[in-house]
């Protein structure tokens, strides 16, 4: 760390600003999968309930909608913070590229608005709206989530492969809207992330009921609540492997520094090995790690003769430093490992489903399934780390450095804000988890006593009764 000037460059607030952005984004990205994809799962469940006349499915959907709304509320708060951090931490990036980066975010504004409105209607409309009306109004949510994902990924893709802008004297003087919104990286980033959030939501929700299965609950409720999200997530897993592979291969051309960091390739060469785990030392040697000869060249160009550019092919101030490269590499490997493990679990599931026409009944299967949710969240985090840390030192790839975008605020200010945010986020996290546990406990209790009032007492629904005006 010390030998790298990029960590503590001239701007004193650079380090705390990077940490703060990383921290708040890392938290926000945890809330995204359920925010985007949970409504779709809930609607599938509600659809089963309405069109197959299944009261158990309806009860599940109704409970899920509570979790969905609470989690959306927390995500809305952490997302609002991010939009302000663009100004507080990186004012000069927005000053120069706001006219381009903003396009995606403006579209995101529409999506956010629709989500906020229709989540309110969906959650609070269970009792008074006709079932089909309620279902139909809910159908706005999944496309709104996809639109929001597109918009944010479009902005991120611009940071990775900027295009469509004409810059003159540090100012964007012309914008080609379509080219800005659809930069090269969007194609793979969008599909990779969209599939990731649906997988994560599916596996995460299913893992709750895998735990219930392990604790001995085997009723229709648990089987249905497990099977629907798990099937959706498992079906997406093999697709994700293909999309992920395409993404990595595209990076070799689009962002060769990032690709070199992911693969810890120090010098440009053919017959490049695929290094599994391990790390680069200060002299560019890979320590530990398992090197599969020529595999990386094979994967990129289907031939061992494919030349892969190494980190040293780039100027020292235009590539990730050793620490950043190692973080990128390890995060990438963890993501790949989790993806392969998920594919194995999906294969197991579909094998049993196909051969025996029923859910697996192996305890080991459910043990692994109960970890799949956490595994997916870890994969989302590590994938995001790969993309963001691998882009360093650039904030907008190849045209603006992170150190050129940072605020002029003193480091002490940003450190203080960071500390405050850590405290507040911890509080939010604590209350959020406690709330979910309270809801879970109450619903288990209701199932035991067969009471139907899933939203009662949750912070977003049904609306708290006024004192003194009840019956």
């Amino acid at each position: 760390m010390i030998d790298s000037p990029l960590w503590l460059a001239a701007e004193p607030a650079l380090l705390p600003s990077r940490i703060q952005m990383a921290f708040t984004l890392a938290v926000h990205v945890l809330l995204v999968p359920l925010g985007v994809a949970f409504p779709a799962l809930t609607l599938v469940m509600e659809g089963i309930g309405i069109f197959r006349n299944n009261p158990v499915a309806l009860r599940i959907a109704r409970r899920w909608s509570v979790v969905m709304a609470v989690q959306f509320a927390v995500g809305a708060v952490t997302g609002t913070i991010l939009s302000f951090e663009f100004g507080i931490l990186w004012p000069r990036m927005m000053g120069r590229y706001g006219a381009a980066l903003g396009l995606g975010f403006a579209i995101e504004g529409i999506a956010f608005f629709l989500e906020a409105i229709f989540i309110g209607i969906y959650l609070y409309g269970w009792r008074r709206l006709a079932p089909r009306t309620h279902f139909l109004l809910g159908l706005v949510l999944p496309p709104a989530g996809v639109l929001g994902t597109f918009a944010v990924l479009s902005a991120n893709a611009f940071m990775n492969t900027p295009g469509g802008v004409t810059v003159d004297a540090g100012q964007v003087v012309d914008v080609d809207a379509a080219s800005v919104l659809f930069t090269r990286a969007l194609g793979y980033e969008f599909w990779h992330f969209l599939i990731a959030v649906y997988m994560t939501a599916g596996f995460a929700v299913a893992s709750v009921y895998a735990v219930a299965w392990l604790r001995g609950r085997r009723d229709d409720y648990v089987r249905l609540a497990f099977a629907v999200p798990f099937t959706i997530a498992a079906a997406l897993t093999p697709i994700q492997l293909v999309v992920g592979d395409l993404s990595a291969r595209a990076l070799a051309g689009d962002q060769p520094q990032k690709f070199a960091a992911m693969e810890v390739t120090w010098t440009t060469r053919d017959h490049n090995p695929e290094v599994i785990l391990g790390w680069l030392d200060g002299s560019g040697q890979v320590q530990l790690g398992l090197a599969v000869p020529s595999l990386n060249s094979w994967l990129v160009g289907y031939s061992p003769d494919t030349v892969i550019r190494g980190l040293t092919d780039f100027a020292e101030d235009a590539r990730p430093n050793i620490v950043e490269a190692n973080i990128t590499h390890l995060a990438f490997d963890v993501m790949i490992g989790l993806g392969l493990a998920g594919a194995g679990l999906a294969a197991w599931y579909f094998w049993v489903l196909w051969r025996r026409r029923r859910l697996p009944d192996s305890t080991w299967f459910f043990r692994l399934a109960s970890l799949a949710g956490a595994g997916c969240y870890l994969a989302v985090e590590t994938g995001w780390i790969t993309t963001e840390v691998g882009r360093q030192p650039w904030i907008v790839y190849d045209v603006m450095r992170v150190s050129d975008a940072v605020t002029e605020a003193p480091a002490s200010f940003v450190w203080t804000m960071l500390a405050t945010l850590v405290v507040v986020y911890s509080l939010i996290g604590y209350f959020f988890v406690r709330l979910l546990m309270q809801l879970g406990a109450r619903w288990r209790d209701e199932d035991a006593r067969a009471i139907e009032a899933p939203e009662e007492g949750a912070p977003y629904g049904p609306r708290p009764r006024r004192l003194g005006h009840g019956s």
Partner: protein, 332 residues
């Protein structure tokens, strides 16, 4: 033409947040002042009930304004945040605390925790609009981009704007809560909030007068524009509408008074915005100088149209269902 139109969209966003968010913050302020008497507890329950389904949507106006600001006027965004980051950081912390503790006071397990959550929610409801409005005052003062961040952020103008906004949120909060009390058929609560409309209205008139005096001393050209230029229509509107709402409340006439409240608060924001135009940063940066390239303007106008076409009916549906008490659990 397009640049002015987009500036108007931004001003509308700020005004919408001042109104919708303001009603929310105001409710939080009355929650803080409600105390623990039976009457106060009843008021607090009504506040909770009224806020639940809409408070998140209100927040979207804020995000929208920020996004339009950095997309349409990147230079304004950069200069403002480079200078006023202390205010935005404080407002932001207030905003998260408020959102989090509004949600979590419902899961608080014992009375002590509950009181703490109420307190944090209430205090952050005062501080958040204060600091946001301070930022507008700082912009109006012309100090953005000169002097230290501290001087730019905290000066007579920013403090005056902050105080006015706290009074205005309390005023609009009381006005909307009186309306909710009517809708729920709670006569005691109507009276409770009626008296609060009058009290906060008086405070609003007092702080508004002081603020106008401060503007006259600190930013004479803005003052001229407010009393005899582009802002005058809106300045007059707010001076007429605020007492009009109070008069209706005093006489117990509840027709139109919420619309008039929206008019009073919205006019205040417009009075500032129009008086300052064509400057985004008085004396330093005009709309023409800061506007993004044409393609960005086009996208923003398309997004605006989409908002009107898609979001307006949705929002209307939400408010309609809410006002019809459809979004509600039946009484036990």
């Amino acid at each position: 033409m397009a640049p002015e139109l987009i500036a108007l969209v931004l001003l509308l966003g700020v005004a919408a947040y001042s109104i919708a968010g303001g009603v929310d913050f105001g409710a939080g302020i009355w929650d803080l002042l409600a105390g623990t008497s039976p009457r106060g507890r009843e008021a607090r329950a009504l506040i909770d009930h009224a806020m639940a389904p809409v408070w998140e949507v209100n927040n979207v106006w804020l995000v929208l304004s920020i996004v339009v600001c950095w997309t349409a006027f990147p230079a304004l965004f950069q200069a403002t945040f480079l200078s006023l980051y202390p205010l935005f950081a404080l407002a932001l912390i207030g905003l998260i605390l408020r959102g989090a503790f509004f949600a979590f006071r419902h899961v608080a397990e014992d009375a002590r925790e509950h009181r703490l959550a109420d307190l944090v929610f209430g205090i952050s409801s005062v501080l958040t609009p204060f600091f946001f409005a301070c930022a507008l005052g700082a912009i109006a003062s012309g100090r953005v981009g000169s002097g230290s961040a501290f001087e730019a952020s905290f000066n007579p103008m920013s403090i005056a704007f902050g105080l006015v906004s706290v009074a205005a949120t309390a005023f609009s909060g009381a006005s909307f809560l009186a309306g909710d009390a009517r809708r729920y058929g709670a006569p005691e609560m109507i009276d409770y909030f009626r008296r609060r409309i009058l009290a906060s209205g008086l405070v609003l008139i007092a702080t508004g007068t002081v603020a106008l005096a401060v503007i006259g001393l600190e930013a004479p050209s803005l003052f001229r524009s407010m009393v005899a230029g582009r802002g005058v229509v809106f300045a007059l509107a707010t001076m007429v509408l605020t007492p009009a709402v109070m008069l209706l409340a005093w006489r117990g006439m509840y027709r139109w008074f919420r619309v008039l409240t929206v008019g009073a608060v919205g006019s205040m924001v417009f009075a500032w915005g129009f008086a300052q135009s064509p400057y985004l940063l008085p004396g330093k940066l005009t709309i023409e100088q800061a506007i993004a390239p044409p393609a960005t303007q086009t996208v923003l106008l398309i997004v605006t149209v989409a908002l009107v076409v898609l979001v307006a009916p949705s929002l209307a549906l939400l408010l309609y269902l809410d006002q019809k008490n459809t979004l509600e659990s039946p009484e036990p």
